[in-house]
Amino acid sequence: MADMLELGAVEARAALDAREISAVELTSAYIAAAEDTAGLNNYVALTAEHALEMAAASDARIATGEAGLLEGVPIGVKDLFCTAGYTSTACSNILAGFTPTYESTVTANLWREGGVMLGKLNCDEFAMGSANETSAYGPAINPWQTADGADLVPGGSSGGSASAVAARSALLATGTDTGGSIRQPAAFCGVVGLKPTYGRCSRWGIVAFASSLDQAGPFSRNVADNALMMQAMAGFDPKDSTSADVPLQDLSAALTRGVGGMKIGIPAEYVLDGMDPEVVTIWQQGQDWLRAAGAELVDISLPHTKYALPAYYIIAPAEASSNLARYDGVRYGKRVEAESLDEMYALTRAEGFGEEVQRRIMIGTYVLSAGYYDAYYLKAQRVRRLIRNDFDTAFENVDAILTPATPSAAFPVGRKVDDPVTNFLNDVFTVPANLAGLPGMAVPAGMNGDGLPLGLQLLARPFDEATLYAAGQVLEDAAGFIANPPRRAGGVS
């Protein structure tokens, strides 16, 4: 096999079953790739020995005809997922060294289907960020570069996941998406990322950020691989009270369905003042591709779109301030010794949490505090309902919605931003789907004039991921884009 790193997950599964390659060979190639691209800082822990043991077990199961859906496929895991016996820190100092004794449901599902864990991937601290720059391990780097060679952010919060999949140091990766943390980095790195319907993937064993918004989802280099991984990781879980007992559609069958007769909405409110003209062009291109493939494009209105971000930046910090109360220096990880209990809490949390996390806990604490709860938190929840109603109305007339994934391409690491609100704007196109609980997919669509990938986003009705895979495959076929960034492992000479 000339270059195993070129195989997609579906192709690798076929090559493994045909004994053209072994799981140990494939896993070894990915471990070497991760070591070669260590400069991208997308892994925070490479579990090579464990990976090779899992791969050997996969080879044994393939030999006896017991292969699972992901048998022998090397997968990177965002550090937000608890993995039994392996550090799971949410890239925060407050969880330094935390080694769970249990496995998250999503990762357990992946291993049950034969997936091989390569290691833990970098992310923003507690998934709070859009550039992977709030990580206690330092920023992950995007394998794409502009001509000046400056390091670019991979997006966030699942920045390590997107970076590793694009750089060929993971074949697949898990992510989580609270306001765009799968779709935005997927777009920045030129890979496919799905945020499933809220309730599709169990949240059990995932470090919680904002529980009414958090969803786990897959990263891959193509749409078919994404469907394969989603089929393995999703499913009802009694251990998560918000898990949905709704059967998953046949996502592989959806890949060949096409968009003939499909109605696709184009929301007027997603045209922003001063939007990057190249983003406008790629959005138009996506519309042309879908129309050429037989879809009917429909102008729609989602009138409360502009209020999604401010509502999100009340609801998410409020839930975070509550979820992160558990990091008290008593039960996990870090403790700063002090004379009194209260002082120990306050010093531990001041030293353990980074600046952005502290900022969001403070905002959340304020909007939930006596006298402000109605004005901020309940107000935001009422606006949240109006946003959901906008989508419900739109989906009476359309099957899917097409938007840009991000307002710009990836930007340089360390870009100076004085106003935190400027950073929040990265998520302007992705946040509404989290508030409404909808599934959304980012698909790479092409490159800008600087040679950086741009992505499109598809949204669908709750529990209709199949439509995203059908339309996503059409976009992928039309775009003909496969991530081949300059700073990747292997490489085609």
Partner: protein, 95 residues
């Protein structure tokens, strides 16, 4: 609704995060920036709109109120900074 230094000190205490005196004004300024931005929501008429707390569309599942798990002292204490005799150890809270 504007946040001042005193309010920051109060929020910091509620959040159990030590914020040094010299940082409080800077944080007040940041929080005010964010809060004045989210004030945009006041443009929206939400009269008679029910707050949306959960998008699941299903009621929380119920189960019998019985013990289903437990007896895992070693696992529970596996990551604690300090424990003794099967207990968490914290600074003294009563004299």
């Amino acid at each position: 609704m504007s946040v001042d230094k005193t309010t920051v000190a109060k929020i910091a205490r509620l959040a159990r995060i030590h914020v040094p005196d010299e940082r409080q004004q800077a944080i007040a300024t940041e929080l005010n920036g964010i809060l004045s931005w989210v004030d945009e929501l006041n443009e929206v008429d939400t009269e008679n709109v029910e707050p949306l707390a959960s998008v699941t569309g299903h009621a929380l599942p119920m189960r019998k109120d019985v013990v289903t798990d437990g007896d895992r002292i070693d696992e529970v204490l596996a990551n604690v900074p300090e424990s003794t005799g099967g207990f968490f150890v914290v600074p003294k809270v009563v004299d």
